[in-house]
Symmetry: C2
Subunit: 399 residues, 2 copies
């Protein structure tokens, strides 16, 4: 079993935490000075471990192992959400450093902008598998302040650099260690999660058109209240979805906007952002069929017209059984009975890398399930156990 | 029966429609140049009819009959909503001119800012009954552009003018003719509505506090989804209110705001603007008790905390039975079987005047129920019938 220096691993994590510190978390939005400082810090660490570091035209940092293969690719992302936690992304990158330091034949990567500060989405990992066109980059903007991606890249000193492409033939596969961002492990009293797949998000916009009217002059019978039709539809979804969902499906109404949204005006229009997630396409299709049936039923029942628009319907990324076997074997050796398999409800770079090579993920518990918030945290003994399991699994996968 | 010159009445309405014309409607926000022009136009008309016109420190135009009493007060308001209809308010004021022209002993008033461009609310009629303090005026601003009320009054040339107070002892009562702003009369095939009372609006803010979380990492069982709790509460209201409401009660959810309102974030907070209206206090109290019970039930059932805040709980203004009798007697004489009694779902200046003297309202049909929109309209024969009924009712009330 490889000797992982967990003290050096934790020291690295804390050093990285100091870059862009925000309360007990970090604020390192993509291409910010703090983000670029963290990328330079990473390149130094990779060099110290004997890897050849590069940064590419979108900011992805890559450390190439100089020796013979077979190789594994290990990593995640290094920028953070705004005023967010210290482990999301950083953990998987620093775990890669730890494996390289232990002498394992791994390349380490920190894919740019997994957090989606720019609207291209998963810029680094999608670019690295050849999915991002120049035109897509030309059109992309920062979701918060509207800065064009090209401008932000130039300001960060990355203009003109080539974009790296992953050579799938070089690798046995990709390993990404990450915090769970939920409470499944914590509530089960477990310390490790072997990810079976990354759920696909099927995101919808539901628009309901009624008739804007005066809330006093218009009787209940006369109304075509788009807001009320929206409430009834969402209540019907709330009732129907538990009967058709999978064991770990989730569904979420993130936004309900009534137009004009004034106290004494019957809403003439309602817009709903609704999504569901699962790792199984048949389950996703069952939920879609239910949603469509409920919208048809709404249109039969209500004096408002509901229409459904698919914003995105991705394919779930299933983890590689061989790599999962290596992870669960290592977990059972180092922490017998202390792990379980589970899907990832959140998206990760691994879902993109999985399109060109075997990929797998290892979760460690999130205290209180908190993430995307500066209070995000994980016990140090769980972080240390996780990186040791990742190292042992890498050794098994490379054997 | 008084001889109402309906041709002159319609001519006045069309002249006033030309001031601030917007498509087939008008745009005369309070204290705008168009609004002030319409107030000057009104003062000239009042003078021609033998009344002594004044304008007061908030812009209310008042025409005083020079002769012996008993008197009636007749009027409404003259400013419009933005880009709105030609009859809302204007009809009741021009009807007052018509009654004065016919020699009836009426004072005519156009109360300022019934439409609430300034946040003091019903500025003119509330000021005229002594309800608006100087401090309230100091604090009031335009709801659209934030201009302080004092500044707007000064810019309109009204600074320093005294505010008029109605002398309730002078009047047998107040009559306000208005468009219905609904389709009750149109659908019933009727031409006149005798208003029984002006509904009170009981306006509430419901705040639901949950826990903002990642829509992927958080299982359905773990969630404290404030948006879902809001949907369930509103669906319960939708089910319960028809069982406790009055015949003409209305209830409206004007706004649902989920925080932060992003597609992949479980809302941590929901804010709902909910109101109900009725002319009967026992009915209003029954609806309030139901709302409070549903919120208690939500707090037992959900992992989110709902709280209820009363924004305003006004008292319904009941119309005076004597004046209603005069109106219905006149209606039955001039249009047998063509009228009905009905509540007003919208607020009117009459609800304030009713606090100090008997008051009543006469409705004429709105084509398609449309108001607060430039397409607002009423058939000219209905307008003419309405003013004749108002004149005949005034004569009865003064007898």
């Amino acid at each position: 079993m490889p000797e992982i220096d967990t003290q050096a691993f934790l020291r690295d994590l804390h050093e990285l935490r100091a870059i862009g510190r925000y309360r007990t978390g970090v604020h390192r939005p993509t291409y910010s000075p703090q983000d670029m400082e963290s990328r330079r810090w990473l390149m130094q660490r990779l060099e110290e471990c004997g890897l050849a570091p590069t940064i590419d035209g979108v900011g992805t940092v890559f450390g190439r192992h100089p020796g013979e293969g077979p190789h594994l690719l290990v990593g995640s992302h290094i920028e953070s959400q705004n005023e967010a936690g210290w482990l999301d992304g950083a953990l998987g990158v620093v775990a890669g450093i730890a494996l390289a330091r232990a002498g394992l034949p791994v390349d380490v990567c920190a894919f740019a902008d997994e957090e989606g500060h720019f609207d291209v989405g998963f810029l680094g990992s999608r670019s690295a598998i050849g999915e991002v066109t120049e035109a897509e980059m030309d059109a992309s903007r920062n979701r918060t302040d509207g800065t064009p991606l090209r401008e932000a890249i130039a300001a960060a000193g990355l203009a003109g650099l080539p974009r790296m492409r992953l050579d799938s033939g070089r690798y046995r596969g990709f390993l990404e260690m990450h915090i769970e961002q939920g409470t499944v492990l914590e509530e089960a009293g477990l310390r490790l999660g072997i990810v079976t797949g990354i759920v696909a998000i099927w995101q919808w916009r539901i628009v309901i058109e009624g008739q804007q009217d005066h809330a006093g002059g218009t009787t209940m019978a006369e109304r075509r209240d788009a807001g009320l039709a929206a409430v009834r539809l969402l209540a019907a979804i709330d009732e129907a979805f538990p009967k058709v969902c999978g064991e770990r499906s989730t569904w979420t109404t993130g936004r309900i906007a009534l137009d004009p949204g004034a106290p004494s005006i019957i809403p003439g229009r309602a817009e709903i952002l609704f999504q569901f997630r699962d790792v199984s396409v048949p389950v996703l299709e069952r939920m879609e069929a239910t949603l469509r049936a409920l919208i048809r039923e709404s249109n039969r029942r209500e004096r408002c017209k509901a229409t459904l628009e698919a914003i995105s319907c991705a394919t779930p990324a299933l983890c590689d059984p061989g790599l999962m076997g290596a992870l669960s074997g290592a977990a059972e050796t180092l922490c017998p009975g202390g792990w379980q398999t589970m899907p990832s409800g959140a998206g990760h770079d691994a879902q993109n890398v999985a399109k060109i090579m075997p990929a797998a993920m290892l979760f460690v518990p999130s205290i209180g399930g908190i993430s995307h918030h500066w209070t995000e945290d994980t016990k140090e003994e769980d972080l240390a156990l996780g990186v040791r399991v990742l190292g042992a699994a890498a050794e098994r996968a490379l054997a």
